[in-house]
Symmetry: C2
């Protein structure tokens, strides 16, 4: 079954528009992988990617989509925004699984100082979240 790319895009844009991070859970494949701008290594798993995407959407101000390309299950979505006073242009390269869920997302941005600004804003929050997860629960 071919993925419903247009259906995915409607849900994706509604989620991004509303910054509705909890709703991401419904459109991520369980084994989704995400390649972020600063690092080569990809992050794996729906919980991890949902959290990281939330941090990215929180960090990039005036996040706005522009050109959009669709070829079957493969999508490319251009965006602009800024981190503080550092302007940026980016692209989401998206692969959908046969159920129309996001199975792979690579995020590329330019210029270099925008990647640095984004990394510096996100890294402490990601580390805090990872430390929190690693702690044993009460009792």
């Amino acid at each position: 079954m071919a993925a419903d790319s247009q259906g995915f895009l409607r849900r994706w844009h509604a989620i991004v528009e509303a910054r509705d991070i909890p709703a991401l859970a419904g459109i991520l494949a369980p084994d989704v992988i995400m390649g972020p701008p600063p690092y080569w290594q990809r992050f794996e798993g729906a919980e991890m990617v949902q959290h990281l995407l939330g941090l990215v959407l929180e960090a990039i101000e005036d996040f706005t989509y522009h050109r959009e390309w669709v070829e079957g299950d493969e999508l490319a979505l251009e965006f602009t925004g800024h981190v503080g006073d550092v302007e940026l242009q980016g692209i989401d390269l998206i692969s959908l699984d046969p159920e129309g869920r996001l199975s792979k997302l690579d995020v590329l941005i330019r210029p270099e100082n925008a990647i640095v600004a984004l990394r510096e804003r996100i890294r402490p929050r990601m580390l805090a979240w990872l430390a929190e997860r690693a702690e044993p629960g009460p009792g």
Copy 2:
């Protein structure tokens, strides 16, 4: 007249495959602009962009195209390669003018250390070329 995107792509891929930098002159609009990975500011003019593209193609080893998206005159071409031992994934975001020539090219790559490696490899050559151009000719 709509641009002949498929015709452009055939010529583009042949040029990149052969590293035929002089042939780029035939597919660049005179007022082409290029947004490179490290800098926000765009480079302008066919001579400048031809030279910069040549340096990029020379700097990225094992340059290989993968996914390709076409929507009318707007193209997105994914590539991979490496600079020394630094692997990279990139995308060319291309706009064609009505004559089917490249009028705008933005190049985004990840991860951050690949942008640094690319910039460090290209910058001295670009500066040398700019200095050479600025010198008055003999006589």
